[in-house]
Amino acid sequence: MTEAQLEERIAALEAELARLVEARAAGRSAVACEVVDGGGTTRAMLATGHDGTVSLNLLDGSGKLRAALGLATSGPTLSLFDPQGIRRLDLHVGGDDVPRLLLFDDAGGKRLDAAVDAAGTASLGLLDPGGAAKAVMLATGAGRGVVGASRE
């Protein structure tokens, strides 16, 4: 091999080594599959962790995480991220077995919260940037419906 070929091969292996080390550090190395595009960029990672978690991560063309579907110890979760890495949408069933949809603004603030709690109340809350509920819609487990909005 020429000097240039050696350097090229070393650069490729160093990049792969970095990915492998990162995957192992993130606990993805128990079993993992990376799906790469034509340019060799990793665009999807399917993995199981040593702690029993399972995850599927989709990345954009620049390698940023944009969608994560996972089964964590607390329950199943789908999260979508913007180009700045801020979580903008979260759908999950938490450790309390409450299914919940959350939408976030570009600062990462929770702005919409829809859930069905353990008491059987279905709720939708719209929040201001400070996190205060400004409009709500509820249906209680006992069958009462409520819609309200704050003028303040």
């Binding site: 091999m1 000097e3 050696l6 091969r9 070393i10 292996l13 160093e14 792969e16 080594l17 492998l20 080390v21 190395s29 128990a30 993992a32 599959c33 990376e34 799906v35 790469v36 595009d37 034509g38 990793t42 665009r43 999807a44 399917l46 599927l56 989709l58 990345l59 954009d60 620049s62 944009r66 969608a67 979508l80 991220f81 913007d82 180009p83 903008r88 949408l89 759908l91 949809l101 939408l103 976030f104 603004d105 570009d106 702005r111 919409l112 829809a114 939708l124 719209l126 929040l127 201001d128 940037p129 400070g130 400004k134 409009a135 819609m137 819609v147 309200g148 909005a149 704050s150 303040e152």
Partner: protein, 156 residues
């Protein structure tokens, strides 16, 4: 062999050994992955299309895509549930302006219910009629005021 080539060759050999060791920890790298049922029909797949979109899809027994999780060529992520006629009926995703939204659509793929955080700070739950006209809204403005409204459908 020059000293430089010798040095690079030694470095390469060490790197190859290290990478091989980590690869053996069960990492697979591939261009696409398909999961088939007992009839050898593809029921789930992960791959990158020629359009630059990375997709994870699940298909029904007839081969129709019913669930798709994707990141578009523009980087926008989204999840969609499709009916038997391939119409997207439930969509969760980010818009071109990075507004997160949940949309429920009818069989003609007209959005009938949508929850969205707008780029200007508003947040709302909107109900549309079959023609796509906004008919009811529960919202909160960027300055923190709540609102409830219904519309007669005559607005352009």
């Amino acid at each position: 062999m020059s000293e430089r080539i010798e040095e690079l060759s030694a470095r390469l050999a060490a790197l190859e050994a290290k990478v091989a060791e980590l690869r053996d920890e069960a990492l697979i790298r591939t261009r696409s992955l398909q999961i088939v049922d007992e009839k050898d029909a593809v029921r789930a797949a992960i791959g990158v299309g020629g359009d630059g979109v990375v997709r994870f899809v699940q298909t029904d027994a007839k081969g129709a895509v019913r669930i798709g999780l994707a990141v578009g060529a523009d980087g926008k992520p989204g999840l969609a549930f499709f009916d038997e006629k391939k119409a997207a009926r439930v969509e969760l995703g980010l818009s071109p302006t990075d507004e997160p939204a949940l949309s429920l659509s009818d069989e003609r793929e007209t959005v009938r219910l949508q929850a969205r955080v707008h780029a200007d700070g508003r947040v709302g739950l909107m109900a549309f009629d079959a023609g796509g006209q906004l008919r009811a809204v529960l919202g909160a403005s960027a300055d923190g005021k709540g609102a409830i409204g219904t519309f007669d459908g005559s607005a352009p």
